[in-house]
């Protein structure tokens, strides 16, 4: 089974290799290269990216204009850290995002703050720094598009996007 799964991952890699970004698992925001809900593996397999994305949770949310990690966020990041320590072949890019109620440049910087807060937390739990990169999409890639707090709350996020190969930047 393990061999089968690895083959499936490699197939996924080949499919995504046509994209300009590194292969990645999860929704991401990187210009359409994410695999969305079709991330590799099975949600019941604890070593699969799908398990990471859906069962552990690939994202944490923030309150307005902050990069403070909430208790709920910490619980998710504990799970992410454990998974990354167990599955050492994976790297991650942590993508910071902001809601639309801010200026473009500031939101890019704020997203970086959020992504970095997640990285610092994961590193504090033993995940090697060199496996984690941070970026920010500011307000450019909302997941919820209404102009109300119910949507803004989902957009103020940091998403840990797994990848299987060495990153380029």
């Amino acid at each position: 089974m393990t061999l089968f799964k690895r083959t499936a991952l490699i197939l996924v890699f080949l499919v995504t290799a046509a994209c300009t970004s590194p292969d990645r698992f999860g929704e991401g925001a990187g210009d359409g290269s994410g695999l969305g809900a079709n991330a590799a593996g099975s949600v019941s397999d604890p070593t699969s990216p799908l398990f990471f994305n859906q069962t552990i949770g690939d994202r944490i949310l923030f309150t307005v204009n902050t990069s403070t990690i909430t208790d709920e966020g910490k619980a998710i990041l504990e799970g992410q850290a454990q998974w990354l320590l167990t599955n050492a072949d994976y790297r991650a890019v942590i993508e910071g995002h902001a809601d639309e109620r801010g200026t473009r440049e500031y939101n890019l910087a704020l997203g970086q703050r959020r992504a970095n807060a997640v990285r610092e937390y994961l590193v504090s739990r033993g995940v090697p720094m060199e496996r984690l990169q941070v970026t920010s999409f500011g307000k450019e890639r909302p997941v919820a598009i209404c102009s109300a707090e119910s949507c803004y709350a989902q957009n103020r996020r940091a998403v840990t996007v797994l990848s299987f190969s060495a990153m380029t930047s």
Partner: protein
Amino acid sequence: MMKRLLTLLVALILTGPVLAQGTPLRITITDGVIEPITFAVPSFEAESPAAQQAAADISRLVVQDLAGTGLFREVPATAFISQIRSFAQPVSFADWRAINAQALIVGAVTVNGDQLTVKFRLYDVFSGQELGQGLQFAGTTAGWRRMGHKVADAVYGRITGEGGFFDSRVVFVSESGPKDNRQKRLAIMDFDGANVQFLTDSSSIVLAPRFSPNGDRVLYTSFSSGFPRINLLNVANVGRQQLQTAPGEMAFSPRFSPDGRQVIYSLSNGGNTDIYRTDLATGQHMRLTSAPSIETAPSLSPDGTQIVFESDRSGGQQLYIMSSNGGEARRISFGAGRYGTPVWSPRGDMVAFTKQNAGRFHIGVMRIDGSEERLLTSSFLDEGPTWSPNGRVILFSRETQGASGTSAMYSVDISGRNLKAVPIRGGASDPSWGPLQP
């Protein structure tokens, strides 16, 4: 009638032939309500049959440019008593006075192959005098709009005593698609939305292009690597390269120095965003801020000695000014709410900014000491002002609310008057207004 025109806010000096030394026809642009100058543009004379279309088009464009400022009001051709059939024909001023046209613009167009020549004269109808000398511009038939803009710039300049802005271009981000999968491409257009051309495709997000001072290059932020990086694009051949910034996880919010030789920008590392400067020729970097807060959106003064930027070092976003070499910064914004995206005015005396307060976004201007703050607009989301070459008009992005919200470019006078959308197809954001073209 003379008294009506000579209001407090309009300095309209009509001198007789004996006192012909001053400027007879003059509008002084102030912050208050302005009584527009009335003008007539009889369709320019076509000096050959091939020039007829261009003559008609150019005349209409001159009218559109001048009337579009709100400082001038057209007297329509249906009101004309006399016709101008020849550029050389003497003007019967009484006929133009009778329809209350204060300014009369007479022109002629010649087409020779793909070469186009436009000449014009501007008359002060009430003094019966020509204002300035007749002028002639030459170009190509394909570039007829530029010829029209040049005539309008000359008229605007002679009547206001200030530089124009019609023969200029704007680089911006063209947008399409839904909010959660918005496609963004770099594009360039004439100031009035004509001649849109794309400079990049939409394969990766591009943000906030900024013209070089002479309009030959554009700096912008690209996500082509998945990480924000600054690119430098050559407008003439659309060649582009990544700017070698100081080392950092993200680089964005670039602007040129007034001499075009340096770039100031933001660099993020470990959650901290600071302002840096890189010399394009030597590749040398200089870090200008080092606070643990967010410092971004830097803009240099026209003399290159100071930088206005935004920082949240006090808690929320506020505007600060520091030396172009960094060091101590002084805060200039103190009103309610948050202030961002400051841009130094071409004359050096003002800063335009985005303000967020009580759930609304505003474009505003203030003097560089922070006094005389004035909000020009108010909407769900206005942001990112850019100045016209003469510092009289501001372009910015306005995004509408909701799941189907879209972005468009708007212009507004620094008086807060004459707010209007730039008429182009599709969504648009992040305008950067280039210089008057040579």
